[in-house]
Symmetry: C2
Subunit: 190 residues, 2 copies
């Protein structure tokens, strides 16, 4: 997605430890017109898929998923990173290791909101080693729902989480795939 | 907001400990058309305010803020509940006690994204004792920005956080204020 790649080149900042900061437009401050274009692009890519629900994970994925959901006319459901007093009843549970935060989260989703009748699109802001996405995919599998595919805003191709999932047959659609990045260069996959 | 009140009566579930579960449409699964109506209503209420930025806090506020921001044509910035490796530079910091999770969070916002030129609307899903909202207001005050007001989806009027803020002169606009709730009755403020 050209508009996104241009924005990453303009405002993204590469930090030590393979960190790409896009906090000025994607995951701290959010540029809503850009995210609308991202939502439209996910709909264009998945135009023929019979999506019934968009699944994401708190926190940064939620805004993108909600904006995108407007183009799919489906509800969003987001997995939560820790047990809440307000969540009860049966849960799908998994563990996710965060690349950014260097820790392991318990991730839960109420069974009420995903079942075998659903066709799921998973949306998230980043895909690196794939831990978060693998956790969400596990939740979809456990629910019996059909995983139609995943929509990722920025994939760090050099961390290979996306390629491993593609090899397993998961449809991974990333709007920008970065194959290498250093302080002064950032190379997108063609 | 009549549509919202009807939905709370239809799908909200009162649990012990003054907990109102609205996870089927607001803060776990999200009904996007309803949230669009909520966003339009915030814009109607704040039509004449010169809002430049919508501030919220992760996680449940983000989707509502992003959908609402489409009607204001402004960016969203969301405060984060814990230090992230991806956040550096100068931060506004505060502490917020969560009614739901019974713990205290460090809450941070990058100083890059809020300054004295901004006119801020704070949006959140719930207002109970006001801890989260007080923390966000403190961040706005520290930034030198003008607080135009707050937009809350559901206020628990019987916990008085909203009334205390109104007494201090903060504009608190809640789309549904619950003055009492029990297992079999839920009374909205007129």
């Amino acid at each position: 997605m050209q508009l996104l790649k241009e924005r990453i080149l303009k405002d993204g900042i590469v930090k030590p430890g393979n960190v790409l900061k896009v906090d000025s437009f994607l995951n701290h401050q959010m540029d809503i017109p850009l995210i609308n274009e991202i939502g439209k692009e996910f709909k264009r890519i998945y135009a023929d898929a019979p999506i019934t629900k968009i699944l994401t994970i708190e926190a940064s994925g939620i805004g993108i998923a909600c904006i995108a959901a407007q183009y799919f006319n489906v509800p969003v459901v987001f997995a939560k990173k820790s047990q809440s007093l307000n969540l009860d009843g049966e849960m799908y549970c998994t563990k996710i290791e965060s690349f950014t935060h260097k820790k392991v989260y318990d991730v839960i989703l109420s069974k009420k909101f995903l079942n075998a009748d659903d066709h799921v699109l998973i949306i998230d802001d980043f895909l690196a080693n794939g831990c978060a996405l693998n956790g969400l995919i596990e939740i979809v599998r456990n629910s019996g729902a059909v995983l139609e595919g995943t929509g990722i805003v920025i994939e760090k191709g050099f961390q290979h989480g996306g390629d491993l999932l593609r090899e397993k047959g998961v449809r991974v659609e990333s709007l920008a795939i970065i194959d290498s990045m250093t302080d002064d260069s950032l190379v997108f996959r063609e």
